[in-house]
Amino acid sequence: MTDAQEDDIDLRSLSDDELIEQMHDDLYDGLQEEIVEGTQILLERGWGPSKVLDEALVAGMNIVGVDFRDGILFVPEVLMAANAMKGGMEILRPLLAETGAPPLGKAVIGTVKGDIHDIGKNLVTMMWEGAGFEVIDIGINKPVEEFIEALETHQPDILGMSALLTTTMPYMKVVIDELVERGLRDDYIVLVGGAPLNEEFGEAIGADAYCRDAAVAVETAKEFMQKKRNAAG
């Protein structure tokens, strides 16, 4: 379909089912404006924010996730899809909070001090956003003070750290130890990643889990959020 034809679709003229299907396609095609509009229409039609989230957005992004895993979609396409998702989430997030629905999750992520590698971290951010998480990316070369400050400011559920150098990996432990010191460790799910890490290392430094790639980072974050909700509920 050409862009011109796509522009022609009047989302309002679609039935609920048709609209949901169209939104799945629009997520797949990374069309942020359309997703924002679709989200608004469903809300106007009286849908609850949780229902919009689950049936329109999350279900649509699941299709994207599977096709990314299977090598059908390319990184730029997933990036666009994640941006579209982010657009929808910005509308839903405050409404979800009002209804008291459990949030999907919020994360702070950064590359540790001394390390400037960020391609992997950026992919994780993208995939998390695609899965509906709110992500604050604090960037590269971050000392423990800035991690702590970001945690205090944003009060996330998850702390993500990335390191690609064997000389900077140990710094993840410095951050975790500081959390322990301040009695904050149990307030956060700590997930770590980066090519030279492995599961043993993650365990040794006291992280909750090591994530070998961005897809696993999504799965792991979802699992831990589920556990957290169960514990709270």
């Binding site: 730029p76 070369n141 064997t166």
Partner: protein
Amino acid sequence: MEIVRPEDIERIHEASLTILEEMGIEVMNDAALALLENAGAEVDHSSGMVRLDRGLVEQALTSVPPQVTLTPRNPDHAIDLGGTHLNFSLVAGPPNVHDRVQGRRSGNYTDYCNLVRLAQSLNIIHLIGNQPTAPQELPAATRHLDTYWANLTLSDRVFHATAIGEQRTLDAIHMCALARGVETEALVDSPALLTVINVNSPRRLDDALCAGLMTMARWGQPCVITPFTLMGAMTPVTLPAALAQQNAEALFGVVLTQLVNPGVPVVYGAFTSNVDMRTGAPAFGTPENTKANLIAGQLARRYGLPYRTSNANASNVADAQAAYETEMALWGAVLGGAHLVYHAAGWLEGGLTASFEKVILDAEILQSMAEILQPIEFGEADLGLDAIRDVEPGGHFFGTEHTMERFETAFYRPLLSDWQNYENWEAAGSEDAYQRATGIWQQLLEGYAEPPMDAAVREALNDYVTRRRGEIERVGLDFE
């Protein structure tokens, strides 16, 4: 080999100057910012953005030497970077190691030492690059002392200073001087070692590596300025754009070395490949990587700089993929006129693993490459008309005088290839090249002899390491 027309090289050059003048490079190091500003660059201190006008670039290019000789403790193993010289380095940087006997594991000091011993045992490996594997069990702040010690005592080849900050760099320079039995000042005019400074593409030079660059330049040692760019992630996806950006970043580093110390040797580094657009994972030995290796050579020659590139692959095992990707990258490097090929032996998994078997496989490839590059000059005897006359149609040449005089050295003798027929190969155990490589590295390690070192020199080195380890443990390092 020139695959881009001279006028198109100029277009890339012009685009690079535009990048430097209009967009700039972000520098994360204050001392470098001050130096650049003094030299007339436009510096935005709040963002660290530096814009260089073309005059500064051209000025720097007038003082760069076209060639540099690096002399390790054994002067017979000195290497020349420039001219018609080609040098191969051992793999550098992997956090893991692999061999067929013990499998894959985290890098450690025992494996580190064995990889250095292997390099020392193979004449085709001319230098030791950055740590062939990271000895992860050693404390990160003093690890460099242990690796320098191993490089200097287990080998007598040129090696690479870990240029993460000033102190690690200085330790390497002092230890090289001690190993050569000279004052450190003597190295200023007779450089001994090198390092690689990666630019954090796009357009950023990090703090620690800036400090390392400036220290090397101050002490007269060459930096290899290498924007390591993965197209798609770190540059646009089109090759000309990637090359223009890479070239701008390399030139920026070159300018910085010349501002620190005009005339200091510096090497033009290039390492451009692409990511897998389906996952973001780096790919190597691709057609794009090969083309980039070729064209970057044209650019280096345009500036009269020695040229470094790499020999890499993305395979997870030392298999056929590892071999053919390696050959692709290497042909690009060699035909591109590289003077220095990093990661020439032992690289696997996109640089995440150093493989013992791959060292042997690569040594075979590199030796063959070196053989191909032997100049073809021949006299009447080589033309062999007499030998041809001597043998009647249907005869053979095994017994001719011409053959008898030459047979032992006439052809390249492989290290790894097996040329037996199928039945004999089967009778001998049906080992493929991968399996045979294990036996070869094991044999090399068994037969390895430490290169002799004067007892006083050894003691001086040992004292240095002990003293510095104590200092670092007490007061720390500049970049930990």
